[in-house]
Amino acid sequence: MSLWVNTKRVARYGLISFVRNGFVSLTAVLIMTITLFTVAFLIISGAALNDTLKQLTDKVDVTLYFTVEVGQDQIVSMQKALEALPEVAVVTYVSREDALAIFRERHKGDQLTLQAIEELGGNPLGASLEIRAKQTSQYESIAKFLEAKQEDEGAAASIDKVNFSQNKATIDRLTNIIETSKRIGMAVAFILGFATILIAFNTIRLAIYTSRDEIGVMNIVGAGHWYVRGPFMVAGILYGVVSGLIVLLLLYPITLWLGPGSERFFGSFNVFDYFVETFPVLFLIIIGSGVCMGALSSYLAVRRYLRT
């Protein structure tokens, strides 16, 4: 008998079993919907956490202030030296003029300060380099590099100050918060994911437990293992697909409703925008997880009752 005929029969029986075992299918779909919803929640909350941590990380930098006398070529060579460091993500050059413009902008309501600047005659501000590390934990080593430069006689005269020591406590605290958040996030995701997958697996196992006599009959009639297993796996895949579609359908209004609130709470992360932008990936992950979970659970559950 051709493989195609067998596949057609297996698919048909899987579909029939899904429809006729209505209550069992409904239970399995409900549990799997909760599981996949948890998966979606973990993905979206993980993205929100990462986005928030990234925003915080972006707010941290080390600034190297130069004295007013330093020439641009000296600053550029320092910039190049910094950019060569593996820990450094970006080095932004702020010229003396830019620094003055930023200063004026920042104090535009403060006439007294602006007047004081005018009275000084020239530009009292030096140029600076804003250094951003790839990870917050790497600022320490960048600071050490800068300290070494300060000790070096040639460069020492040109460096006015490095703001690392003032920011050190904040940076260290932030680094701790970021690391801890990531670790807790991963642990929660793992525990929640594992628990819900286990629940979904057990539900399918129970659904197949009710068919154990049926499997016994199929064995005695002489059906091959795949012929027995196939319809149950098809039903399992259908549980996954239907649950996945329900989750994706539900996520639309939920994220739409939560969108503005999430943006206020997380700073710039809008869950609805994230849902829309990453929909193809989310679709693949949710439906894919459902299909894999359904098929694998059924495969393992039926194996228990197969006899040779």
């Binding site: 008998m1 079993s17 049926e214 009959v217 002489g222 091959g224």
Partner: protein, 249 residues
Amino acid sequence: MIRLLRASSHKIWTLRRVRYNTRVIYYNKVTKIYGRGVPAVEDVTFEIDPGEFVSIVGHSGAGKTTLLKMLFAEVRPTTGTVYFGSREIQHLSANELLALRRNIGTIFQDFRLIPTKTVYENIAFALEVAGKSEDDIAADVPHVLELVGLADKLWSFPSELSGGEQQRIAIARAIVNQPDVLIADEPTGNLDPVNAHDVVEILKKINDLGTTVFLATHNKTIVDSIDRRVVTMDQGRIVRDEKHGKYIL
């Protein structure tokens, strides 16, 4: 249909004679011990020829079901050998075992129909695993249902049928592939006397068409009415084997 079956069974019968020579089933010094308990079957040796109708009788726990289950390898002997034709059942590969099961029809006291499949689908399943085409299935299922007198129940579910009807469907499923051997384990255990009589009549008819029937029962009336070979078991051993036996315990 019966004419049809008779014609085809004649052909099969001829083939069978060639394939099995003299015996279709042979138990050779078979013992089965479950766990560390007493033997369920002890040192049993006997053979069944093609076309025979053998009733195996005995009290509950005498070892009848264990003996039957060894034939389709649901139970394996602790010692000794069970042969189907010339093949040792315990040495068959997984695929050979599946082929063997397709060649043995089985019916049980509790019918064992698939509750989520219609009568048609229950019987069709046995044909599908045997590799039959949809056209053959569509032709064979109504015919075999006609043979057991349930042609009008094609699209019913097992739960919509009486016990007697369910057992007749189970028989239809067991014989639809025209197996060499039909094993019936207490097929009348859950039936009233009228339905039990009907089921036995069907089994006799199937046997008349050439299929070897191996029936386990403790129903005295049925065994006495069949008037064929009776093997009597007691505490796992064969205590009597008569060509035209009666139920004596």
